[in-house]
């Protein structure tokens, strides 16, 4: 070995050592550390955006825990997905959607609190607005949590609610507060939100008006009817929002939220980026198949169909799209048998009459308020059933596919939708309900009629406060209208139980299949409230489980 080659060797060795002598610190590329942040407006905005973004992530579970226990929906098959137990009231303590809803809500709440703790009030109008938005989100999530995991306020403010978390300290892990205490905390945050928010950015961000709208709902749930009216009116009179005209109302979900003047606040989903995998994981996916996109397994319920089809001109019919069998000229008379199954009888049209194709029997008919006919089939034993006349439809497990499209088609993408937190239509109905409860039927019915007229219900379908339909109170009509108007927006379950009414689910759907199904839910049943997620019970010993 020559000196020369030793030299070479040393050079190579030195090179290798250089490669080995870089620093040992490595930082993530797709995340920031607290040190990376300064308290500039940009980071405050980014973290606030992060909170809205998390609401998108959790929207699916959030929608499902609120909507699936309602009587607006009908599931066409059993499924391993935990949505099944939200839907059929066979509660399980580790329901993934309930868990996701709880877990994400508190994560956002803490993120809200961190901002609230770190940004002083009054530094600028813009910062105050952002602070206010965080107060709003914290209030909204606490409010939704207490309604999913606690009994309705009207059933007792002393029942167990949910933990109130108002700080960013990971070690402070509060136990469940009473329902009433949670409501108070919600109102306190909304007061803050209301006073801090002075900049209206658009309806995809929280605003003072959104705080008013939420307050109206909170007071309504508390049956503080005067306050509910007061705040509903603040929104109505703010001049910022207007009901979509009847001609556009049927396309409500197709608008991007900012160009929809009725929406007070929506969590905005944007095309493509928020429609991954063709939107298969989005809310609308379970309700419809559009252009091959979606599972399309949960349909409009029979009771809802009956309600909305009373007036063919009601544009709310447009949120339901029956999936017709292409190429078929067969017409069905559909009814529900004693086993709560759809029976589809092929019929043939003859003038105003329909004949059962197989037997030639003519269906009974009766003229209805629309000047058209309702048809009835007479079954063996003289049982007379009203039928739905439809073109032959596609079925899944025997269930006709009445696709719900109220959560689909934003900006033309099949399952894109921005879930609505509040819209002006609800404000009228809040006021209506509050008036009905205060005994002012005239004002209540007037508001209901605003909503009905806007929906395209003909004049003869509007109500007269002095001549209410037989057997119905003004409150009955308000609640019926709320179901009609706000279906698949997450209100129905709460509306029924907070008014101490029962949920009748004796209609077709797989909630009735299997052994010992739950078909009728009383308002004081234990299982109207979700279990506290098992994972939380394990990691937070001070939590008490629901009965």
């Amino acid at each position: 070995m020559t000196f020369h080659s030793i030299n070479k060797l040393a050079t190579i060795g030195a090179m290798l050592l250089t490669m080995g002598c870089s620093k040992l610190d490595r930082k993530p590329f797709d995340a920031l550390t607290p040190e990376d942040f300064n308290t500039s407006e940009g980071s405050l905005q980014a973290v606030t955006n992060g909170n809205y973004a998390r609401l998108k992530t959790m929207a699916l579970g959030w929608h499902r825990v609120m909507e699936f226990p309602s009587d607006n929906v009908s599931l066409s098959g059993t499924t391993t997905s935990h949505l099944f137990y939200l839907y059929n009231y066979q509660r399980i303590p580790n329901n993934s959607f309930a868990t996701s809803f709880w877990s994400n809500s508190y994560q956002v709440i803490v993120s809200n609190s961190k901002i609230i703790e770190s940004v002083p009030e009054g530094s600028s109008k813009e910062n105050d607005q952002l602070l206010g938005e965080n107060y709003f989100l914290r209030a909204y999530l606490h409010f939704t949590l207490v309604n999913v995991f606690g009994r309705p306020y009207s059933q007792g403010a002393d029942n167990l609610g949910v933990p109130i978390k108002l700080d960013g300290d990971p070690n402070n892990q509060p136990a469940r507060s009473k329902v009433g205490e949670v409501y108070n905390a919600v109102l306190a945050d909304l007061d803050k939100a209301e006073s801090l928010m002075t900049v209206f950015k658009s309806n995809i961000y929280a605003s003072r008006e959104a705080a008013w709208a939420l307050k109206a709902r909170v007071y309504l749930y508390m049956e503080n009817n005067e306050k509910a009216i007061e705040y509903a009116e603040k929104v109505i009179n703010s001049g910022r929002f207007s009901l979509l005209p009847t001609s556009q109302f049927g396309q409500y979900p197709t608008f991007k939220p900012e160009s929809n003047n009725e929406t007070i606040l929506a969590i905005k989903f944007i095309p493509d980026a928020d429609h991954p995998s063709n939107g298969i994981g989005n809310i609308g996916s379970l309700y419809s198949v559009i252009n091959g996109s979606g599972y399309g397994e949960m349909y409009a319920s029979k009771p809802y169909l009956d309600l909305v089809r009373k007036f063919p001109a009601d544009v709310r019919n447009k949120f339901i799209e029956p999936d017709y069998k292409t190429g078929s000229s067969v017409i069905w008379a559909m009814y529900v048998n004693e086993n709560y199954q759809y029976v589809n009888v092929p019929v043939t049209k003859a003038g105003d009459d329909y004949k059962i194709t197989a037997t030639g029997e003519t269906l009974d008919k009766e003229i209805n308020v629309n000047g058209a006919y309702d048809y009835y089939i007479v079954l063996a034993g003289g049982v007379r059933k009203k039928v739905i006349i439809e073109k032959e439809m596609n079925l899944r497990n025997g269930y006709p596919k009445f696709f719900i499209t109220k959560c689909s088609r934003q900006e033309g993408q099949p399952q894109l939708w921005s879930p609505i937190v509040a819209r002006l239509g609800e404000m009228y109905l809040i006021r209506a309900e509050a008036y009905a409860k205060l005994g002012d039927d005239a004002k209540a019915i007037a508001d209901v009629n605003v909503i009905r007229a806007r929906a395209g219900v003909p004049d003869y379908g509007l109500y007269d406060a002095s001549a209410l339909p037989a057997g119905k109170t003004a409150l009955d009509l308000v609640l019926e209208e709320r179901q009609l108007e706000l279906a698949w927006e997450g209100h129905r379950k709460f509306d029924v139980y907070r008014n101490k009414r029962d949920m009748d689910r004796r209609y077709p759907g797989t909630h009735l299949s299997g052994n010992s199904p739950i078909s009728f839910i009383k308002w004081d049943d234990a299982f109207i409230v979700e279990f506290i997620p098992q994972s939380q019970m394990l990691s937070q010993p001070n939590l008490v489980q629901n009965p």
Binding site: A46, A53, I109, S111, P170, G514
Partner: protein, 980 residues
């Protein structure tokens, strides 16, 4: 025996002097006695490797010599000796005698290697040690033993071959790799995978290796063998050595090809046919709930979806290798082409790989050892949906009258299956493709300063690039809305490794010392991009052809290690060995970077003691060691508080608190004790038994935080788990004659695991399992199935109150989750046997596992008592029966359309015994006789036929107790290999 060995060692040590002496003597003799004759010869092993320092003596004389480094010798004999008998003896080899013919002047002899010699060299990663000096537990598999089933991955071939190494195959899909667990699971959140080391370089993951390129694999199982790998060694280390040419002035080509057919393996599993599912529906207790379409005419529609989706496929495996030695250079080069089709239709895997290993002795002191291995693997998938094959209804007809797949989602199509998914429809067009390019290159060199000191430099860069293409056709259901979609994925992993090591060895009398000190650095970068575009003309497969980009994502992740290591081994008189190691590891994953890992171990070769003289015992050694290793958290950045940036709101950047950092985060530490006995009996039987205990503490535990903390979890070093077990490796030469050899190898390992400490003593859920103090780490946590209520056929579960009293309930949500059996096997191993007679050889390799409970989740849907009526159902296994008014003692509840009281929800009902005994491979080979081979101008020709997974004995009701869904195929392969 003892004395002979000592003598032999003595000889090795004085090798140089003897060599010189031999040369001198030879010169003197040849000069002084011209009338004498000279014999020249070469002594080699049966493997062709020259045997150095073999002693050659002439029977009944005092004449003798020894071979040189190339195995050559020269001997001068008095002419009077007409037919001398040479006695050749060498370390590790059986002594041989050869009678020379009259006038014969050259001799070439191939020696048989002795069984399990104490001087066998064991590769332990940083060091190579004589077996007689090893203080730890190392399982060695030679390249030859490794090759059995057809597989492109070495890890698949390890099953049943090393005691204590559990290899569970994950899938029967071509190219899939198994999960390897060594000596039990010792972690909750970190990896259980062992560390891979190839030719001295630490790999970031299981390396891509052609099994035919492998010389040997050593599995380092305990502290003494593995602690030198420090913070990454707690799961054991697999050290791979690739081939290098042997011998002197040789040139060997080898060509081999294997071609065969695979078959989809059903096990005992059966699905219902049309009639069976019809009768099943007829048995539903609530007939009135069944939709009106249900009638006898459905029986005419009978589709066998498993037949449609499965196939017999081809497997091909071709190897071409060259090894040669010439002058200063040694070379090994191998090329492989592997091609396998899936037994589930529509999936193809193939790989081309090549390797070039060179040793070039630049000077007597400096050797360069460059190596490069490149492989390019491709997958092409229009794979049929396994999920749907099991579940689609026999009543659904996949093709229309013209033979085209029907679109189950199209309006007007009758389709009964609940998912409305005739996967065949979209598969007409849609596909995914993948490519993986791997490059593993080393620039190593060694400089020997003198006989004591050497400098070894190991420098490796391993690069792996994965590219994927997802193609969704505009005509398919999945592509309708987007008018087709293309997605490109790219991942690039670069691992850099460098180790600079100084070694020292010396022998002073009976004392022998080996030591090393090294500096090491390793870093890793993974870079990924995914982009998706929509709006394509059918057939376009590049993003330039997509109308609109819809998604783009990318990220970089990195880690680095810096280490200092030291190891010293001392042995005295071949009787006592002591070894110690220390390694200081620095990792980028912690705030406090450095940690220290050490081990000490000792061994005693009892057979070398003068007092020990038992003829039947060839060797007897005991060894024991203790030390610490680590396991690094999977999370690269666990000590930072983080705000994740991967989301957006309304297209604007957004940040969300995603991680609560822990500044004190550190390694999981495993302190293990191992004691082993190795014994050789009657020159036939070798038995190694190891007892071990591994205490792992500071588990990197994702402490589940209640969500009111604002976080889901925080990584903390908390909790402990203990693994203890026993392992045995037995090899037995049943017949050991010159004509027939029959060997039997058995490996068995039994590991007991229990969690000893958890965060606040709290149990933590892990899906259907639980971590619970005092219980196995893989313990199932489920409602306990209490069978069918004989009165009404309804399901029942146990309710256990706090004091353990048990009652029964028919309400699923009232059932109590209970910790029960575990997924951890009680014992596992393999039985392998090898018979050879004349040119014939038969090898049978088997693997077994006992006592592993597996949760067969698929039964929730296809053994669901009607909960999924429009999924197909499995036929009840023999011994199972359904409740009927006549049969009250049934295993299965009365079925209802829509299910019976959640009877199909997770419970111990679906826990099954996953024990199995599998004949992994049978290979029958025939080597052509030497005279034929020579006529064909080759060195050897072998033909063989082999069967993979021919038989599996198990109680498991599904297809494969290892892979569950995609069974490992049965396979028959025909092979031919020629050496020349």
């Amino acid at each position: 025996m003892t004395k002979n060995q000592k003598l032999a060692n003595h000889k090795t040590r004085w090798y140089w002097m003897r060599l010189i002496a031999t040369v001198v003597i030879a010169v003197i003799f040849s000069a002084a006695h011209a009338q004498e004759k000279t014999i020249e010869g070469v002594i080699k092993g049966k493997d062709g490797e020259p045997v150095a320092a073999a002693s050659i003596s002439v029977k009944d004389t005092k004449i003798g010599t020894a071979t040189d480094a190339e195995g050559k010798f020269r001997l001068t004999l008095p002419a009077s000796l007409e037919k001398p008998v040479l006695v050749v003896s060498a370390l590790n080899f059986q002594t041989a005698e050869v009678r020379l013919g009259a006038g014969q002047q050259t001799v070439e002899l191939a020696l048989d290697r002795k069984e399990k010699s104490m001087d066998e060299i064991i590769v332990t990663g940083y060091t190579n040690q004589k077996k007689g000096n090893v203080t730890g537990s190392v399982g060695v598999v030679s390249g030859k033993q490794l090759m059995d089933v057809a597989s492109p991955n070495v890890s698949n071939l390890l099953q049943g071959k090393v005691a204590g190494v559990e290899v569970v195959n994950a899938s029967g899909r071509p190219g899939s790799t198994p999960a390897i667990t060594i000596r039990g699971r010792s972690t909750i959140n970190s990896t259980t995978a062992p560390l891979w080391v190839v030719d001295g370089a630490i790999m970031s993951t299981e390396p891509v290796l052609n099994p035919a390129d492998i010389e040997s694999m050593s599995v380092l199982k305990d502290a003494s063998s593995a602690a030198l790998y420090g913070s990454r060694a707690a799961n054991g280390v697999i050290v791979v050595t690739t081939k290098m040419a042997k011998g002197a002035d040789r040139s060997d080509f080898s060509v081999s090809g294997k071609l065969g057919v695979t078959q989809f393996s059903m096990g005992k599993f059966k699905l219902m046919n049309s009639d069976q599912i019809y009768d099943y529906w007829k048995s539903f207790a609530n007939q009135n709930a069944i939709p009106a379409y249900f009638n006898e005419s459905l029986k005419q529609r009978n589709t066998n979806w498993l037949d449609i989706g499965s196939q017999n496929a081809l497997t091909q495996d071709y190897n071409l290798s060259y090894s040669g030695v010439s002058g200063r250079a040694k070379i090994y080069s191998g090329i492989n082409f592997y091609d396998e089709g899936g037994t589930v239709k529509g999936y193809k895997y193939n790989r081309v790989s090549g390797r070039l290993n060179v040793d070039y002795k630049l000077t007597n002191k400096l050797t360069f050892k460059p190596k490069v291995a490149v492989s390019f693997a491709k997958t092409d998938s229009t794979e049929h949906s396994i999920y749907d094959m099991y579940r689609n209804m026999p009543w659904d007809l996949p093709y229309d009258s013209a033979g085209r797949p029907v679109n189950a989602r199209a309006s007007g199509v009758t389709w009964y299956g609940r998912d409305l998914n005739n996967y065949l429809y979209d598969l007409q067009w849609n596909f995914t493709r993948g490519q993986t390019l791997s490059i593993n290159s080393s620039a190593d060199f060694q400089y020997d300063f003198n006989e004591h000191f050497s400098f070894k430099s190991t420098n490796n860069i391993t690069y792996r690039a994965d590219n994927g293409l997802g193609y969704i056709d505009p005509r398919s259901n999945a592509g309708l809305a987007d008018i087709g979609r293309i997605s490109n994925t790219a991942g690039r992993a670069t691992s850099r490794f460098t180790n600079q090591m100084l070694t020292y060895k010396t022998d002073i009398g009976e004392h022998s010392i080996n030591a090393l000190a090294a500096y090491e650095y390793n870093d890793y970068t993974y870079n990924t991009n995914i982009s998706t575009g929509k709006g394509i003309v059918p057939g376009v497969t590049v993003l330039n052809g997509a109308a609109t980009p819809i998604a783009a994502s990318g990220n970089i992740t990195q880690y680095a290690f810096r280490s200092y290591l030291f190891n010293a081994a001392y042995s005295y008189s071949n009787r006592y060995s002591l070894q110690g190691s220390v390694r200081s590891d620095g990792s980028s994953r912690f705030s406090k970077k450095y940690g220290t890992f050490y081990s000490i171990g000792g061994a005693w070769n009892v057979h070398n003691e003068s007092f020990f003289n038992v003829a039947a015992i060839n060797y007897l050694r005991v060894r024991a060691n203790y030390g610490g290793t680590g396991n690094t958290p999977s999370d690269y950045y666990g000590y930072y508080d983080l705000f994740g940036l991967s989301t957006q709101y309304n297209g604007s950047p957004s940040a969300f608190p995603t991680a609560l950092g822990n500044k004190t985060l550190s390694w999981e530490k495993t302190y293990s004790t191992d004691a082993g006995v190795e014994i050789g009996l009657f020159d036939r039987l070798n038995l190694t038994v190891d007892l071990y205990r591994r205490n792992t503490s500071d588990l990197v535990y994702a402490v589940a935080l209640p969500s009111v903390s604002g976080y889901v979890q925080q990584l903390q070093n908390i909790g402990a788990v203990v693994n203890k077990g026993i392992e045995a490796t037995l090899s037995y030469a049943i017949i050991k004659s010159s004509k027939v050899q029959w060997n039997l190898d058995v490996t068995i390992g039994s590991n007991k695991n229990h969690v000893t400490e958890l965060y606040k003593g709290q149990s933590q859920l892990n899906g259907n399992q639980v971590y619970k103090e005092g219980y196995d780490i893989n313990t199932w946590y489920l409602p306990v199935w209490a069978g069918v209520n004989p009165d009404n056929g309804n399901p029942q579960w146990e309710v256990a109150d706090a004091s353990g009293n048990k009652t029964l309930t028919g309400t699923y949500s009232a059932a109590t989750l209970q910790a029960g059996a575990a997924a951890t096997p009680k014992y596992f191993g393999g039985i392998n046997t090898n018979v050879s007679w004349a040119g014939l050889s038969l090898r049978v390799n088997t693997a077994f596992r006992k006592g592993s409970m597996i949760y067969y989740a698929d039964r929730e849907t296809f053994d669901a008592d009607g909960a999924y009526p429009t999924y197909n159902s499995m036929v009840l296994k023999s011994g199972w029966s359904r409740w009927t008014p006549e049969n009250h003692n049934a295993t299965h509840p009365l079925a209802y359309y829509g299910g019976n009281n959640n009877s199909n929800k997770p419970s111990t009902r679906y826990l099954e015994d996953g024990s199995f005994f599998r004949i992994r491979n049978i290979t029958l080979g025939y080597s052509l006789p030497a005279y034929v081979v020579q006529k064909l101008k080759s060195k050897n020709i072998q033909a063989n036929i082999s069967f993979d997974n021919l038989l599996t004995l198990t109680k498991f009701s599904g297809l494969d107790p290892e892979t569950i869904a995609y069974p490992q195929p049965k396979r028959i392969m025909f092979g031919l290999s020629i050496g020349f």
